[in-house]
């Protein structure tokens, strides 16, 4: 699924990385625990989170994640935005809650990383 499709179905506002909306992702992962992201995720994954500090961007940077979607109307802080810009990362904000966001994406065909058999 392309990032621009995700933007459209989530009624999301794109905050950084507007020029990189043609990147494609295969999976989504929802978490506020960054160590879980570091444990399970691969680069063709979009991260859904409600956590707005710079460690989220750092975590995404380490894992080469394509995009971060902040749920339930949350917006990342200024330090996060600066880091995201520096790393060419796409950041979107959706008004939907984590559960609803996940449901919309799953329904549209974007699967979870469970498919990869990485969760034991």
């Amino acid at each position: 699924m392309y990032l621009y499709e995700i933007r459209d179905i989530l009624d999301a506002e794109v905050i950084t990385g507007k020029s990189r909306m043609d990147r494609e992702v295969d999976f989504a992962f929802g978490a506020d625990l960054m160590s879980d992201v570091l444990a399970f995720v691969n680069e063709r994954t979009v991260l859904l989170t409600g956590l707005t500090n710079p460690q989220v961007i750092r975590t995404a940077e380490m894992m080469d994640l394509a995009a971060i979607i902040y749920v339930r109307g949350k917006r990342p802080d200024a330090a996060s935005l600066k880091l995201a810009e520096e790393n060419g990362m796409t950041i979107m904000c959706t008004p939907y809650t984590l559960y609803t966001t996940s449901g919309i994406l799953y329904n549209a065909g974007l699967k979870g990383i469970d498919e990869l058999g990485v969760i034991k």
């Binding site: 160590s35 570091l38 750092r58 940077e61 330090a79």
Partner: protein, 144 residues
């Protein structure tokens, strides 16, 4: 990189310096990318370095991260000045953590740090002495 070339990086990491958390790992990752190390290897090294950096910031009195890169491997040494890990077996258990609520609010302290580091390493070793400090050494092989 020619056979005899070796790149060595050294970062000082201060206790509770959350503002700079991730700087050492981010720099390391950029260097590995520049050297043309495969992206999956780079990512594993980035996870090890980042978890090590967070560990030093969260749990220690400060320390350093040394990254040695040659044509065959990446060696990451994370060394701190105490207080040491009382029970390494416990610390290696998934889900075990002594982190504060403040740290958990930042998305860490899930008890996955050391297990994550081990999983991403080909060789992994922890040495810790109470009152003196902890040294974690990780080696990741670079395939031909």
């Amino acid at each position: 990189m020619s056979q005899k070339d070796m790149v060595s990086l050294n970062y000082r990491v201060n206790a509770e310096d959350f503002a700079k958390a991730g700087d050492a790992s981010s720099n390391t990752k950029k260097v590995l990318k520049k050297l043309g190390i495969p992206s999956d290897i780079t990512r594993r090294a980035a996870v090890v370095t980042y978890e090590a950096e967070m560990n030093i910031i969260i749990h220690s009195n400060g320390g350093e991260i040394i990254v040695n890169i040659d044509t065959t491997k990446i060696q990451i040494i994370a060394r701190d000045y105490g207080p040491g890990i009382p029970d390494i077996d416990k610390a290696m258990q998934k889900g075990y953590s002594t982190a504060s609520d403040h740290v958990r609010e930042m998305g860490f302290g899930a008890g996955m740090g050391l297990p994550n580091m081990k999983r991403c390493s080909d060789e992994f070793e922890i040495e810790s002495k109470k009152g003196e400090g902890t040294t974690v050494t990780s080696i990741i092989h670079i395939p031909d």
